[in-house]
Amino acid sequence: MLGPFDYGLGLVGFLAEIFVVVCLVYRREFVRYLPLNFYMLCDAFVTCGLFYSVRRFGPSSLTYVYFYYYSDSLLMILMFWVIIKLYQQVFDEMKVSTQIRGAALILIAATALFSYGVVHQNRSNLTGHFVVELGQNLYFVGVVLTYLLWGAILKLRETRTRLIQLVLALGIYFSATAGTYALRNLFPGLQPSLLRWVPPIFGMWLPLAWAYTFTRIPEDARLATARLLEKHQ
């Protein structure tokens, strides 16, 4: 059963997503961050859909559960578009956009095939298991992609504070969610009491962190990434 806290988290996340889009439209940066805006709008739309399916079918209905997991997987694929865009910004001067797009598409296809392969071996509980397995693997691919991007930022001595904070917020979101999915696979008993709170909290975190970045960090702000790794600052 969903309580006021669940609805509160959903509402704050929804408002933060709308705020990010409005903020970028107001600053005339909508096109510059098009994938990010599109993701935020789709996520807000999915939140509305989830609210509708809870009211219409109930939180324990199969319709709600499948809508939750499949929309989450689709949003993850949209998120890869955001990551590709961030890669393109980092490698802007190297003119390697086509290679980045190609590599990302191959990686997504490989993830789907790998998830299918894993589930194919455990046919007894097919569909329900597949969505959780796919979610875990997609999020982990997100972790790997973001970590590689972070490595590239450090290697290329990227100094754009906004870009750095967008990537770090994304990394926190992906790693927390991938870890939660994995823990859920390892210890299913933890799901009702503890793990069910983590994805909504970090689902709220991402738009909030991005809203903070877009409102507080100017486009021309610079930060030496080496300072973030120093043992003693």
Partner: protein
């Protein structure tokens, strides 16, 4: 097996991203020189900002009128400070190197709080000046 691998590596990556994110917020305050006024108000005139000053500085920050634009970062740094405090306590008898690192990080958090206090004091003075000017 795969789930365990994903779980361990995700937690390790999460910690690295979280520390870097908090440091990127702290970095904005590092270049700011503290005014004599805030040193006097907070009682740190004679020494550097210490790691344990954070809670006291935060209390002073809360006494000042809100600027409305620094709440999120103060909350994020507060969470980071709390986690460092716990980690430092656990690590002190076991891994002194980690304890020293947490102490250094906590000092950065305290410096951040002192900068936030300085900004809020300036804001309060501006507000006061504005009100006096309006009355005249």
């Amino acid at each position: 097996m795969i789930a365990a691998l994903i779980c361990v590596s995700s937690i390790a990556v999460f910690l690295q991203f979280f520390v870097s994110y908090c440091r990127s917020i702290l970095a904005s305050s590092r270049k700011v020189e503290l005014s004599a006024r805030v040193r006097e108000v907070s009682g740190i005139a004679s020494h550097d900002v210490a790691a344990d000053d954070f809670a006291r500085l935060l209390q002073l920050v809360r006494l000042c009128p809100e600027r409305g634009d620094d709440q999120t970062e103060i909350r994020a740094v507060g969470t980071y400070y709390g986690l460092l405090h716990v980690l430092g306590r656990v690590a002190r008898p076991l891994i002194p190197g980690v304890a020293a690192w947490t102490e250094q990080e906590r000092r950065s958090c305290s410096y951040f709080a002192a900068v936030a206090l300085d900004r809020r004091i300036s804001y309060s003075r501006d507000l006061f000046t504005q009100q006096v000017a309006e009355r005249l």
